[in-house]
């Protein structure tokens, strides 16, 4: 099997450092810090940017019946696919795989919000990858929305799911227009804006959230939001990244701003 691309500069994070940074790194998904050392070590690989190794380690734990490790496996797969995999077909395969695994995870742990969130996240990214219009025609929109709503119902403090649900509203409206979006997919501009505001208020330091919000606000309100979006890009690009995902996000914001 072809190996995944390596993160440019793997970070030197120890499990103990990850434990200390955990509240900040997982404020968005509220995943509890693992009490078992082996799972914390697997998460450490993820935060260092060793995504393939994180998945391998995670799978060895799920094989032993540690269902919570599916969150790590699916997150690492989806994040790698979304930010690092250069080949479109491989990227889509990985997202599809993560979505299927997350769906299984919801059966194993139906009360685990991150099982639902990662199902929505992987499926949503997959839907974007094959084009939103095509995905909506195949009925994926409803599944993504329902899984995000389920996540929030299980844990109202899940700000990542709120950012994602806001993006769902923005993407659908952007692709099919406000009227059809409301009538056929229940997507509404006011709901999207309210969800972004709520998620941002709850987790104002979420770099991924700010990046998604910058794009989504422009989709929802066009030029009226350009200045706001620009401020968000500046905030993200000036932030100090603590783990690999944040490094990827900061680099993306900087690249966007450097195009001036």
């Amino acid at each position: 099997m072809q190996h995944w691309q390596l993160f440019s500069t793997p970070l030197h994070l120890s499990p103990e450092q990850v434990r200390q940074l955990w509240p900040r790194l997982h404020r968005g998904d509220t995943e509890p810090c693992p009490t078992a050392d082996d799972l914390l070590e697997a998460w450490t690989l993820f935060h260092r940017g060793e995504f393939e190794a994180a998945v391998e380690r995670g799978l060895s734990l799920t094989a032993k019946g540690q269902h919570a490790a599916w969150t790590l496996v699916n997150r690492a797969t989806a994040v790698y696919a979304n930010y690092m995999e250069p080949q479109e077909s491989l990227r889509l395969n990985l997202l599809e795989q993560a979505a299927e695994q997350a769906r299984m995870h919801t059966e194993l742990q139906p009360d685990n919000p991150n099982a639902w969130y990662l199902w929505a996240y992987s499926l949503g990214r997959y839907a974007q990858g094959i084009s939103v219009a095509k995905a909506l025609a195949q009925g994926m929109g409803i599944r993504v929305r329902d899984a995000l709503e389920k996540t929030i119902a299980l844990n109202p403090a899940h700000s990542d799911a709120k950012f994602a649900l806001a993006t769902f509203h923005a993407e659908v409206i952007d692709k099919v227009g406000e009227l059809i979006a409301r009538m056929t997919h229940g997507a509404r501009k006011d709901l999207g804006l309210a969800l972004y505001a709520e998620a941002h208020a709850h987790n104002p330091s979420s770099l991924v959230g700010m990046l998604e919000m910058a794009k989504g606000l422009v989709m929802l309100e066009g030029d009226a939001q350009q200045a706001h979006a620009h401020t968000l890009y500046q905030q993200v690009s000036g932030a100090v990244a603590t783990d690999a995902l944040e490094h990827l996000v900061v680099a993306l914001a900087r690249a966007t701003l450097s195009d001036l």
């Binding site: 979304n82 930010y83 690092m84 995999e85 250069p86 080949q87 479109e88 990227r91 990214r125 974007q128 990858g129 094959i130 084009s131 939103v132 219009a133 095509k134 025609a137 990046l211 910058a214 794009k215 422009v218 350009q226 200045a227 979006a229 620009h230 890009y233 990827l248 680099a251 993306l252 690249a255 966007t256 701003l257 195009d259 001036l260």
Partner: protein, 226 residues
């Protein structure tokens, strides 16, 4: 302007993608090639355009917008100079987005938007050519009845739309390169205009022959006097 940062990146991605699509054909251009050509990370490309289809759709939307603007001018075409300019501008649009025609069958099979919209585009072009022919008839440039207008409008649309494919087959290695654009477009405009010949009034016919000679850069076509 500083406030346009997100748009600027998206714009740069579109410009480079269009260049690559035109040069190598859409099926031969991967997202990997696009991000490496732009020297941006895959994540950055996906952030702005999560699917290759979105790139195709965004480029098509631009083509459509520019074409609509141009086609709206068809009823105002009052003489042969206008007509020549109109054909040439349409061909320039096609040249600018030539990837759409280069791999048309492939794109039509896999892209729903193109499947739905391209036939509307042909219909719009046909209506515009009908308006153009009517206007030229009205201004005494042509003497053409309704049946002949219907036939000619279709002939003109077909020739204009697939002119570049004809050029491509004649010289696959060079026809799609930028340095050959001017000559291809001139030849195309000349031949589309030539379809008016049978209906041109005697004064217009002399003018038409003159125009075709000037724009062909040679002695022009050997048209027989009717």
């Amino acid at each position: 302007m500083a406030k346009k940062a997100p748009r600027r990146t998206a714009e740069r991605i579109l410009e480079v993608t269009l260049k690559l699509f035109n040069r190598f054909g859409e099926p031969n251009v991967s997202t990997t090639l696009i991000s490496s050509e732009l020297n941006i990370s895959p994540g950055n490309l996906y952030y702005h355009y999560p699917a290759k289809d979105e790139l195709v759709n965004a480029l098509f939307a631009r083509y459509q917008a520019s074409l609509h603007k141009l086609l709206a001018a068809a009823p105002e075409v009052a003489d042969l100079e206008d007509a020549w300019f109109f054909m040439h501008s349409l061909l320039e649009g096609i040249w600018h987005y030539r990837f759409l025609y280069r791999d048309l069958n492939d794109l039509l099979t896999k892209n729903r938007k193109l499947e739905a919209e391209l036939k509307n585009m042909l219909q719009l072009k046909t209506s515009a050519f009908l308006a153009l022919l009517q206007s030229l008839d009205h201004h005494g440039v042509l003497a053409i009845n309704a049946t002949e207008r219907d036939l000619s409008a279709t002939h003109m649309v077909v020739m204009l739309t697939w002119w570049l494919s004809y050029e491509y087959v004649r010289d696959p290695r060079h026809a799609m390169e930028d340095e050959n654009a001017q000559q291809s477009l001139l030849r195309g405009a000349q031949h589309v205009l030539g379809l008016l010949w049978p209906y041109a009034t005697p004064e217009a016919r002399a003018h038409l022959q003159h125009l075709m000679r000037v724009y062909s850069g040679t002695d022009g076509p050997r048209l027989q006097k009717a």
